[in-house]
């Protein structure tokens, strides 16, 4: 009388093994979409002063709050990447699995980098490899050791790529299964890993950067190489560009752009401004359309004086428009790579200083070309004033590079926050609300409360290594500026 029990207890709506491509698609999509949207924009994005934030997102006013969801989402992405490797177990040297495993590993490294960049030390080396043997508690590895390991792993993963192997095909949103393009992604990621260590471990930074720069053809070499996930407008909110989803489902109080971004674009007379931002309601009413950004981290007294119709949101005909052609989300772009190359060139790492301006301009040109701007020609005046390196010190050149990267990374909040912290450019003035930081811009995110409660001893050990405890003001290892 128990013979049908096994059949009865077989889950009817799920399976125990699966084509890993389906899992890979999900990871690429979720991992890429995670960078933008209402909360990242108004948390990290208000610290980097792309977005104004507001009282309903207290962390935008420097009030501490743990980033539980970010933490959990990253480990969940890593869980699914580990499952891919379990599904492909035994095929490590076989063309049917070898390059697929390498691609999953390369993408995983980019997720690890994002996680450690935001928090500092995180559990890394001792975490669960197989659900049959769960590591309930894992020590936090130092960011230094994580970076060392990621760089070594990235080298071996790139070496494992073989152009004739089986790949993910159309399940691969980035490259439709193109292994040569994944090689370019891997090398470009190496460039990013290397430069992040520029001030923390210059020797390792240099060797990593030089290795990545050794063959320019193996880096992203045009917008066609961008790692991007397409979006869809007349679909579910989960399929739309996170910025559009913010407009469609989020709070209207959280749609305002920060003064720093608008002011910089106005200062540059940047042709992207009218495509990026919306003129203020009151300026349009008055017949003189103009753009204005709102201050960040305002005090109660300041906020009570705000008339929102005097400030700009993203453009209602591009970012905030379902009628505009869907804008892809990016994980890594040729522009970013160009800016990294320019920075490396200034250091003489893998290129000469004289190449810096060329790389820089190539990065800006590519950035202009991307949706929603699609500007194919840089105005000559912009080229000669804003983009010219003539007569500038290295620091000034770096500031220009980082400022353009900061504009380019609008909507890519994790990377924008990491790069701003690393080099300190553009120079941002904190808002006036003291919050938990005494009015300083936060330098990291607070660990997950779940992790703190459930992995407490290891959490405490990691917090002990932080200069200012588990606070906004402690700096991660590579943050030396």
């Amino acid at each position: 009388c128990t013979k049908d029990f096994e059949r009865l207890n077989t889950p009817p709506t799920s399976v125990t093994t699966i084509d890993p491509s389906l899992v890979f698609s999900r990871v690429l999509k979720d991992g890429t979409f995670a960078e933008g949207g209402e909360l990242p924009n108004n948390k990290l994005g208000s610290w980097t002063q792309h977005w104004a934030g507001g009282p309903v997102v207290p962390v935008s006013r420097y009030l501490e709050s743990a980033e539980d969801a970010v933490w959990e989402q990253h480990y969940s992405l890593i869980k699914d990447l580990k499952q891919i490797s379990l599904e492909l177990k035994g095929k490590e040297s076989d063309p049917s699995g070898r390059s697929k495993l390498a691609i999953a590993r390369i993408y995983e490294i980019s997720i690890w980098q994002r996680l450690t960049d935001l928090f500092g030390d995180v559990p890394y080396s001792q975490i669960t490899k197989d659900p049959a043997n769960v590591q309930v508690i894992a020590p936090f590895d130092t960011q230094e050791s994580i970076y060392t390991s990621l760089i070594a792993d990235l080298n071996s993963a790139i070496a494992q790529l073989n152009d004739n192997d089986e790949s993910y095909g159309t399940a691969d949103f980035f490259y439709k299964g193109s292994i040569p393009q994944w090689r370019k992604f891997g090398n470009s990621l190496k460039l990013r890993l290397g430069l992040r260590l520029r001030y923390a471990n210059p020797a390792l930074a240099r060797s990593t950067v030089e290795s990545a720069m050794a063959n320019p053809a193996l880096l992203l070499s045009g917008n066609a190489d961008n790692a991007a996930v397409p979006t869809f407008n007349n679909a579910q909110p989960v399929n739309t560009n996170p910025m559009l989803r913010q407009f469609q489902t989020g709070s209207s109080d959280l749609r305002y752009l920060a003064a720093a971004l608008i002011d910089k674009l106005k200062e540059y007379s940047d042709p992207r401004l009218p495509l990026l931002a919306q003129p203020t309601v009151n300026s349009v009413k008055a017949g003189k359309p103009d753009y204005a950004g709102l201050g960040v981290a305002l005090t109660d007294a300041q906020l009570s004086q705000v008339i929102r119709d005097n400030y700009s949101t993203p453009s209602l005909s591009t970012w905030f428009s379902a009628a505009f052609a869907p804008i892809p989300t990016y994980a890594l772009t040729y522009s970013e790579v160009s800016f990294f190359k320019a920075e490396a060139a200034l250091l003489g790492w893998g290129a000469s200083s004289g190449d810096a301006e060329t790389f820089f301009k190539a990065g800006v040109t590519a950035a202009f070309q991307l949706a929603p701007y699609s500007i194919n020609t840089i105005p000559p005046a912009y080229n000669t004033t804003v983009l010219s390196f003539t007569g500038l010190s290295d620091a000034q050149k770096l500031e220009k590079i980082m400022t353009q990267k900061w504009i380019h990374l609008f909507g890519r909040n994790y990377e924008a926050f990491a790069e701003w912290r690393r080099n300190g450019y553009p120079v941002l003035t904190p808002g006036s609300n003291p919050g938990s930081t005494g009015g300083k811009i936060p330098r990291r995110a607070i660990y997950s409360t779940r992790e703190a409660q459930l992995n407490n001893a290891n959490y405490q050990a990691a917090v002990g290594r932080l200069s200012n405890g588990d606070s906004f003001l402690s700096k991660v290892w590579w943050d030396k500026r």
């Binding site: 009388c1 049908d4 029990f5 096994e6 009865l8 207890n9 889950p11 009817p12 709506t13 799920s14 125990t16 699966i18 389906l22 899992v23 698609s25 999900r26 507001g54 009282p55 997102v57 207290p58 009030l63 501490e64 480990y75 969940s76 869980k79 699914d80 580990k82 995180v122 559990p123 975490i127 669960t128 659900p131 769960v134 309930v136 508690i137 894992a138 159309t170 949103f173 397409p230 007349n234 679909a235 579910q236 989960v238 399929n239 469609q248 709070s251 209207s252 109080d253 109660d300 009570s304 004086q305 929102r308 119709d309 938990s436 409360t449 779940r450 992790e451 703190a452 459930l454 588990d470």
Partner: protein, 1073 residues
Amino acid sequence: QTGASVTGVVKDAGGGALPGVSVKIENKDKNFRSNIATNMQGLFSAGGIPPGGGYTFTFTSIGYKTKVLEGYTINLLDKLSIVVTLDEDATKLNDVVITALGIKRNKKALGYSMAELKGNELTQGSEVNVANSLSGKVSGVQVSRASSGSGGSSKVVIRGNNSLIGNSQPLYVVDGVPIDNQNIGAASSSGGTDYGDGISNINPDDIATISVLKGPNAAALYGQRGSNGVILITTKTGTAGKGMNIQVNSDFSVGSALVAPDFQNVYGQGLNGDFTHFRKSDGTIVTMKQALDGGFAGTPKMSGGRDRLTRSSWGPKMEGQPYEDQWGNLLSLTPQSDTYTGFFQNEKQLTNNVSVEGGNEKVNYRLSYANTYVDGYVPTNKLKKNNFNLRTQASITDKFKLDAKLNYIIQDATNRPTLSDASDNPAYLLISQPRSIPMNILGQYKWTAADVAKQLGYSSPVPGLEKTYATNSSTANPFWTINETKNTDRRDRVIGFLRLSYDIEPWLKLSATGGTDFYTDQRLRYRAVNTYQSLNRKGDMSETVIRVREDNFDALLNSNFKIKEDFSVTWNLGASHLSRYLRQTGNTGSQFVVPNLYVINNTLTNSYLFDLVESKINSVYTSGQIGYKDYLFLDLSARNDWSSTLNNNNNSFFYPSASASFIASEAFGMSGKTLRYLKFRGSWAQAGSSGNPYQLTGTYSLDQFSHGGVPLASFTTVIPDKNLKNELTTSIEFGSDLELWGGRLGLGFTLYQASTKKQILDVPIAPSSLFNVMRINAGEIRNRGIELSLNGTPIKTASGFTWKTTFNFNKNVNKVLSLAPGVETFLMGSDRGINVVAQVGRPFGELIGTQFAWLKDENGNRLIDPDTGLPLRSNGRVVERIGNAQPDWLGGFFNSFSYKGFTLNALVDIRQGGMIFSQSNREEIIYGTTNKTVAGRDGSYVASGVVGKKNADGSWSGTGAQNTKSVKAQDYWNMVASDKEVMVSEEMLNDGSYIAMREISLRYQLPAKLMPTSKIKSITLGVYGRNLFYFQRKTDGFSPEASAFNTSNSSIGIESTSLPMLRNIGFNLNIGL
């Protein structure tokens, strides 16, 4: 007609007719046996009796001493008529009670504590959910309810929470057949609707008795689902007698809020004691500061916004000042005392019930129809319930009997309110909106072109759009919600059983029962085009069909014999099969193409919903009792289950029980005047439990939505364990019952301990493990407690005046002894600012504050910053224990006075201890809407605490001096809470203690001489009030016993913008024909 007949009447000592007395007519020589009962007039009649001598009549009735008349001769032509008087049996403990498997037992033979309530001891009047009527009536039973009004769910916990997962609720068994009591799709901390639980469908008028079996000791024979106790409901049956007996019962009640938030009516919308913005005479808008600095002419203007800076009541005193609201209406700033009551309405509830019963000695039947109509507290919320019930019992032959029931329930509900943290919970807006907003202004719930032109602070509104108070979705306009959004649900449910029994020998009976409970729920929700919060403001809808079925089959062999003279033996052997099934299909769609057409294919984007859950349990069990004389009883039981939810190696498990009862008063002949009854009892029992289906394997699931046609999949976040085993609850109890002074005072007490080991737990693990939870057998929770019940008859006069009183008490001490290896904390629920956890070494239901904390000195005094006069708050978030949600003790005090036809009942329900974290309090503080925020708005608020001083290392310590520096009340309360993400968690705690006047009812049964016609046999009139008032309540603005958003463990100790519990006043009329 063949055979002789006999009629008779049964009366009590006072000469009153006794209905429902069982009359057994037997003649061993002629092998004749008949079981009938008296009707409302106390009459019985039996026919078809073989003539002859040797007849025995046995009259039994609960509460009366059994009377046996022997040696009667019945002749064919005689009309034998018997008049019998039964003496009241003051020894209540001799009552026959219904125990597990529906077996009637003499209460004195039970080795464990149980309680039984008669139909007339249940709530007088229209409590839609019968579970609520247990509150305060039985020791060890805690009843709370979801804050969802009539038709909502109730939570019953017996002797404390045993299980970390699930809801620790008992099994409901109706007429021997378990019913489904799921609460499918219940509300969570982030919103949702309470569609009612399974027990709420049962018609209270059909209930004859309710027995409460308090845990595995009493419920071992129900197996795993009995481990949290069993509530046995026995419904009414027809009684044999002359003709039909018709009962008509009508009940009407009106409900209003028992406790509403303590609103202030002094200060209106604004900030810092003033308006925020200003419209100059030229039409342009500036801030108030600019207006004051510039000395402009014009009118103060309000602005829309999501946060307290624009929509709070920290503004000017309401003194009739003219101003323009955020939409452009020109108003005067005046108190609006009806901002809460002006939206809600009195709940009206009408229940009509008709029953027809009758039968003869072979067949009896009872047919009832009940109709319930509730016009809810939230306007447009309606509940209609039709309940048909047919019960029949028949003797096919003398030995072969049939018992069958068919209960058909149709329930239709409209616009059930949304609960907790959801936009369209009406309470959410009404507790936080400015005290100066007139309800008729809020009632203009659609934007007009004029509003659009004059608004301030909104982002691109268009005419026709839902006009929200704030710019954000978190506060929908409740008038829009009730008029432009809709939810309907319909349940069609059939509960039925068929039981056949055969008396193989007079001492051996075989019975077989098949029972089924199946229902279909159809749920539809939509939000019209222009609902602010819907995607692209284009509306959305969902439609769900849920089909649930539970089948129970059992076969039971029951024997009853005596070994020698002094030993009686009862032995049962049974087997049962349970199968459960749930299938859910549905569609959700958003963005309507054509307005006002609410079908899925009218939506631009849509998706499916599918779920299927099935399980089976097979069991065999045996139980037996040996009685020695009339004073020593020993019970033994054993059961083995095979459950489909565990794997082949572990799916069989065994659990036994044993109990004993010793009637010392009989054994030692102590039936003296003072102590006339003394019983000792003890019991030990186990109950296994096998968890939910599909808990063994880790699986991949496909995402609901593909991404541009590319399918997405992910692996579960739960680490499964293939080798899960059953949970095991072990329970032990000892107790005693005694009666003093001729039965005038009865006392019962019980000590118990129950612990559940090897719980099947989804243990939360650190996210760095890559998973959310690990499913393992782990943990042990222990409940220990004492139950006391006292019942007495302080006054009983010859003139017929009686005062009966009952007091019951339960103190339960709960402790989490262990969790999983390496796991010290188990998270049960989590909401803004609060986690509800189980922690090793602490009682279940610890409340952990997760936001800011006050800085305090070593004596617990708050430290006050000498510069600002404000209390000092932790710099970042803290995780600290702030209280526990479990009550210290529960009690009930019941009094009944009767005189002639009048009966006055009063129930006081008591709970002491247990903390509740209130999200409403947080909203009220942020927005300055309640009275506690009024004092000191002019700057004279002095925060309690001691003056702090800053140490060299940056930390603070106290100086010992009391703070005297005064501040603005607004600044103080903004330190307490300024946002749902920024609050001092401990300030939201409320003591959940209460002493409530739960129920007062007055009934009057008209004497026979007052009957208008002889066709009417009885008329009873009643008035009642439920949830009348509190003798003691410590919560701020809500009822402690009805504040949760659901009935699971995840909401223990959390109040979340709840709807008020209602005070019901009603009357009823019962006519017997």
